[in-house]
Symmetry: C2
Subunit: 112 residues, 2 copies
């Protein structure tokens, strides 16, 4: 399995699906994104995260949490609040965030 | 709003979160991915989809459906079954698929 995949427990758990269009230029984004991922993964109830960003700046991060309390705690983490503010001011042209309860999961391809 | 975003109704609805690591080389993948996206969006109950793939071949597609019946119908669509088989044989080194019920959604940044 490639390094990009999160290793998750059996459902149920939660996913925070964050789609974003980046503004032009790095402006400190890359370093902050790395730091926030590392910090998130240290939080109780954060199960893992997966990210992809196309060369046109459209990206998706799916972050996985054990429950709603863990999502709320991460949302309100002091360092994350600072990053969210910079995201709104500098880094994101637009974003959409959906919070969903994972009910089933599969992987593949089997048999190769 | 950039073109990459899906315009969705208010929750609840479902997301099929598909993370994948591509094999090397196109091998017909790009054309099939475009065709499957177009076909999916024509299905009743398919609300939209968002995709990103990093240059290293790791990608996420979040596809949105009205309900479980719509997810199942798309899973079993004849042309999609053919594409899934090629995906397993040729295009994906590995994939993870999670099916989740979206409970809340937000967008931003507000006020810019």
């Amino acid at each position: 399995m490639a390094a990009g995949f999160a290793t998750l427990p059996l459902p149920p758990y939660y996913v925070v699906a964050f789609s974003s269009q980046r503004t032009t230029g790095d402006n400190g984004y890359g370093a902050m994104a790395d730091a926030m991922l590392e910090l998130a993964l240290q939080q109780p109830g954060c199960l893992g995260a997966e990210s992809a960003r196309s060369p046109d700046g459209f990206g998706i991060t799916n972050a996985y949490f054990a429950d709603e309390a863990a999502i709320l705690a991460w949302k309100n983490h002091a360092r994350h609040l600072g990053a969210q503010k910079l995201g709104q001011e500098r880094w994101y042209e637009h974003y959409e965030l959906r919070i969903a309860r994972v009910e089933r999961a599969y992987s593949g391809p089997e048999g190769r």
